[in-house]
Amino acid sequence: MQERTRVMAESLLSYVTLAMILFSIGFLGVISRKNVFIVYMSIELMLNAVSLIFVALGRYYETIEPQVIAMLIIAIAAAEAAVFLSMIVVLYRKKGSLDSDIFKVLAQKEFHG
C-alpha cells in the first residue's frame, strides 16, 4: 500500500465498497422479499450498483466509455420497467395477489383447482 493520507472521495475503493453494499442490499431484496414490487426495485438497485462500478472505473482510467454503458443500462431499465409493470398489472388482475410465489405459473390459461 502506498501513502494512506488520501481523502475518501478520491479513492476507487470507497466507491467500490458503496457499490458492493448496494448490490448486496439488492440481492437480499431479491432473495428474501415476496412482494413483486420490492423484487423489481431490488433489481433496479443492483443495476444501479453495477453502473456505479462502471462509472467509478471509467473515472479511474479517465475514459468516457463506461458512462455510455451506464446510460445504455438506464435505457434498458426503462424498457424493463415498461414490460415488468404491465406484466404485474395483468398478473394482479388474474390472481389478485402480489406474492411472488403464485407467479410460478406463467401460463396463459388458468388452472382452476
Partner: protein, 168 residues
C-alpha cells in the same frame, strides 16, 4: 469538502436501500428507492459524470420510479392483501452472512489495482459534448439496437395490458 459530500451521499444511498429492503408497504419502498437513486446521481456527479447525473435524476427518479409509483397507486393494494413474509428478517440475516465472502473477494480483487487520486475533472470530461461524441462514434450500433428494444417493449406492454376478450 468533497469528502463530506461523499459521506453524506453514500449514507443517504445506503439508508435508502435499507429502507427499500425493510419497509412492508411498497409505496414507502419506492420513496426510499427515489432517495437512494438521487443520492447515487450525486455520486455520479462526484465521479465527474455531470450528464449521467442529469440523466439519472430525470430518467430514473423522474420517469421509471414515477411509473412504478403510478402502478402501485393504480393497483390500490390494501394492507391485508400484501403477501405475508413471516421470516423476512431471518432470511435477510442469513443472506447477509452468506454474502460476506463474496464481498471480501470483490474487495480484494479491486484492492490489487494501484491507488491513484481521482480528482473531479474539469470541463470536457463527462459533459454533454464529449458524451455525445463517444455515444455516436463508438456506440452507434448498441444505441440503435436499444431503440429497437424500447420499441419492442412498448408494443409488448400494450399487448400485455389490453383486455383479453376471448378468455374473459
Amino acid at each position: 469538502m468533497v469528502d463530506i459530500l461523499f459521506v453524506v451521499l453514500a449514507t443517504f444511498a445506503i439508508c435508502g436501500g435499507l429502507g427499500m429492503l425493510l419497509f412492508a408497504q411498497p409505496i414507502y419502498s419506492a420513496m426510499s428507492l427515489i432517495v437512494c437513486l438521487v443520492a447515487l446521481g450525486g455520486i455520479f456527479a462526484l465521479l465527474s459524470a455531470p450528464f449521467l447525473f442529469m440523466v439519472q435524476i430525470i430518467l430514473y427518479a423522474g420517469a421509471i420510479i414515477t411509473l412504478l409509483l403510478f402502478i402501485i397507486m393504480f393497483l390500490n393494494i390494501r394492507d391485508d392483501e400484501l403477501p405475508k413474509e413471516p421470516n423476512k428478517i431471518k432470511t435477510i440475516a442469513i443472506g447477509a452472512i452468506l454474502l460476506v465472502p463474496f464481498n471480501i473477494l470483490v474487495f480484494q480483487a479491486f484492492s490489487t489495482l494501484p491507488q491513484k487520486p481521482m480528482h473531479i475533472l474539469g470541463e470536457g470530461f463527462g459533459g454533454i459534448q464529449s458524451f455525445g461524441i463517444e455515444l455516436f462514434r463508438g456506440w452507434l450500433v448498441p444505441f440503435e439496437l436499444i431503440s429497437i428494444l424500447i420499441l419492442v417493449a412498448l408494443v409488448g406492454s400494450v399487448v400485455y395490458a389490453r383486455k383479453d376478450k376471448s378468455n374473459g
